[in-house]
Symmetry: C2
């Protein structure tokens, strides 16, 4: 079984990583559209066009499912299939998990400026249960912090503390990590929020949702502990390759390839 995963950059590898741990015998094909990132500030038409190009590329590689591990692309591709191949986005499973977890019906969302401005999570949660209050915080410093590798770091602690405080002041009991980079900072976020706050990691939420699809053969014990991961990027710089390896560690990439779309 082959699963295609894509994001504008490398952040979506946290989603791939969660799935690869759950299903080590699946083969993963990852596309990072690094030459055209970030998607956050592009028009909806452009983001849709880029996403379709990537999905077509993945279908050309014979994937059995596509996971859109990018919040901005997720808000433009809402179909449950593309050209006959099942597609999953990060927002639906994340929102559904938060709805299940919250007891006080007060949910927080951390995201990039664009994700927060478009209210994707807030709308998805309210469409399931309109009685839930959603409190959002845009966190522009978290992606560069994660990319610098400053994740267990006093600077990261101070930044996270400042971002989560207004949400904690609203007595949330559940917090969505609404950007695929944020699981890299999960330990620090959990520590600074307190261990009674339930964190929702979209990668894990998707891994659960996709579990029904990954059946029989793929669920069988893997031949090795090393899932097959192929990494394609539209601009493959050494920096991109480094961060990719850090995020996936200890799993390895079998192939780094630059592609034109």
């Amino acid at each position: 079984m082959k699963i295609g995963v894509f994001d504008s950059g490398v952040g979506g590898l946290t989603v791939l990583s969660a799935m690869a741990k759950a299903f080590p015998s699946v083969e993963f094909l990852y596309v990072g559209d690094t030459a055209r990132l970030p998607y956050g500030n592009k028009s909806t038409t452009t983001v849709r066009k880029y996403s379709e190009e990537i999905m077509d590329f993945l279908i050309g590689k014979k994937v059995d499912a596509i996971v859109i591990a990018c919040n901005t692309a997720s808000s433009q591709v809402r179909e449950s299939q593309w050209k006959g191949i099942p597609t999953y986005n990060v927002i639906g499973p994340g929102a559904a998990t938060a709805v299940k977890l919250t007891k006080t019906k007060r949910v927080g969302v951390l995201g990039t400026r664009t994700t927060i401005a478009t209210e994707s999570y807030s709308k998805a949660i309210k469409s399931i249960d309109s009685s839930i209050d959603v409190f959002s915080q845009s966190c522009p410093l978290l992606v560069p912090l994660a990319e610098e590798g400053w994740v267990n770091d006093p600077i990261a602690d101070l930044v996270i503390q400042r971002y989560v405080k207004p949400l904690l002041d609203q007595n949330i009991d559940t917090l969505i990590l609404g950007c695929t980079h944020y699981p890299l900072l999960k330990d620090a976020i959990q520590r600074l929020c307190g261990y009674e706050i339930r964190l929702v990691d979209s990668g894990l939420a998707i891994a659960q949702e996709i579990g029904t699809l990954v059946n029989g053969a793929a669920k069988a014990p893997a031949k090795s502990n090393q899932p097959l991961i192929h990494f394609f990027a539209t601009d493959l710089s050494p920096h991109t390759q480094n961060i990719a390896e850090k995020i996936l560690d200890p799993m390895k990439v079998v192939e780094f390839t630059e592609i034109k779309l």
Copy 2:
């Protein structure tokens, strides 16, 4: 007299601001290519094409000079004129100023990951005086810090301290702020480097260089303290407008306009 200034985003407004303070009777037209930023990760051909489109737009608005207030575009447009209009880039004046200021011949450069990787300042300095040692540090957190407005802030202090320490350890005596956003953090950078380190702000360096061009009429006392500033952006979000106003404060923009290039 009309001067056109452009950048991929709003950072170049620090350059405009330095020039507007020096020449309050000049009219300024600013273009921020916000729909297509950042330029840093795009191919040299694409950056060149975008820059030409913006310069043509500015010439259509009858500017008398063009200032390329963007490091990436500066490295692709090295001409001293475009279609007969004098053009200035940020790298040349910044490098020349650093060469004049350094006594120990040890110069530091802070920049974005791309600016540091392309070694633009290092090459420009060495082409003037090859005996100068240049030490560089990429600072991916400084732009988001400046855009969050966290400029006089303990978090900014810690981040700056970490970035400048390796340069100070090299006994530099001069430090180039090699990104148009960094002057927003200038006070903190000066304080944390110590007041014996000379900071080079490209905006001021350009203002000096362009002084020879801005003669007679334009140098005459302005009729008001309020220079005429027009702001054009390829994607004019409220966020863009807010940061633009913060950077220019107390100067005001007479016109915010979204343009297609």
